[in-house]
Symmetry: none
Subunit: 202 residues, 2 copies
Amino acid sequence: MGNLYCDPLMTSTGHKITARQRWTPTPVQLQILERLFEQGNGTPSKQKIKEITTELSQHGQISETNVYNWFQNRRARSKRKQQNAACNHAESEVETEVDSPKDKKTRPEETFQSQQHSAQRTEDLCFQSPEISSDLHFLDPHATAVDKMFPSHSGLRSSRHLSEMSFYDEVLANSRHELMTGKMEAGNYSLFQEAEDYGMTG
Amino acid sequence: MGNLYCDPLMTSTGHKITARQRWTPTPVQLQILERLFEQGNGTPSKQKIKEITTELSQHGQISETNVYNWFQNRRARSKRKQQNAACNHAESEVETEVDSPKDKKTRPEETFQSQQHSAQRTEDLCFQSPEISSDLHFLDPHATAVDKMFPSHSGLRSSRHLSEMSFYDEVLANSRHELMTGKMEAGNYSLFQEAEDYGMTG
DNA sequence: GCAAATTAATGATTTATTCAAG
DNA sequence: CTTGAATAAATCATTAATTTGC
């Protein structure tokens, strides 16, 4: 239940903010992300990711990488779940092909949308601006900044194959938690390539 | 599988903005990269990639992404070659699944040099090879500018106060890649996450 | 009612596959 | 054919849920 973010790793005496290594979406953030995902636009473009991140930043710690990863994972998971769930609807095919890619440890992800809307983070709530609903701005017909980025969500697209809708996907990456501990050995890079490169330093 | 692989370079009108020609390493760049690769330190850390890129930029067009990709491809390619060769040379009679296309479990990486990015935990121990970052000497014999930028990496990782370090101004974050005004929407994300993010509730 | 131990979810990274430019 | 670039699949590692014993 109440999963308080009571991390003992808080700033002790000289310890720093390096508390958790992996981002955990706040309920609000999650809600927004879910909404966006449902709009069915696949992985947002970088531009959108950035803006989404900016928006979500108002509700807690988050980064573009987090957003990107979230969409990636979300999509992959959805797809797999679909497969696992076996298409027992319209298909009269055998179900012996969808599952068994390899059973090592992959559990049948029955991952349901656990939308724990309970306010867990006290901090979060504290920082909640008087306009809590602001997070939904872009989701609503009011159209905020984020809304502009997702114009194609007409809502009438009740597609069933929301897994194959990606336009692209980044391989972004970034150092992982190691950095926080000072390691930073992970080597991952984004592909800035686009604007940054051609024509710049060259 | 069924990815459409939409060409992200075209605009809606089908008009290309900037032909995306793929980067081609110049001989000098290639030489340096090869040398670095041979130093055998796996994929360089983000920091190093940055510096390498900076250095290589002086010899032609290049980006961090290019460098990163290059290392990635290089490693994969090498591995595959080795596997292939081994398969041919080794037993040509008993084919007991010498190498399935999906055998990561077997840790094929061990055949290579250290994999500095896979096993390190947040513990501040220095059990890992302390000389991991010796890859800086890649250009040793000539010692060009690059050499100068990689001197201070040795043993730094051994520090156990890693968690105390707070001045990792790694926050770089591709500042402007964002202006892909006409480029493509294929975005990529940077590595902000590390420093920039986790600071949350603190 | 808590807290250590376990399990389930899931964020983050790596690897393999594929596509296409030269 | 070589290989840089892009995507998806698989894997890893950590956090949250849940269970269990006190």
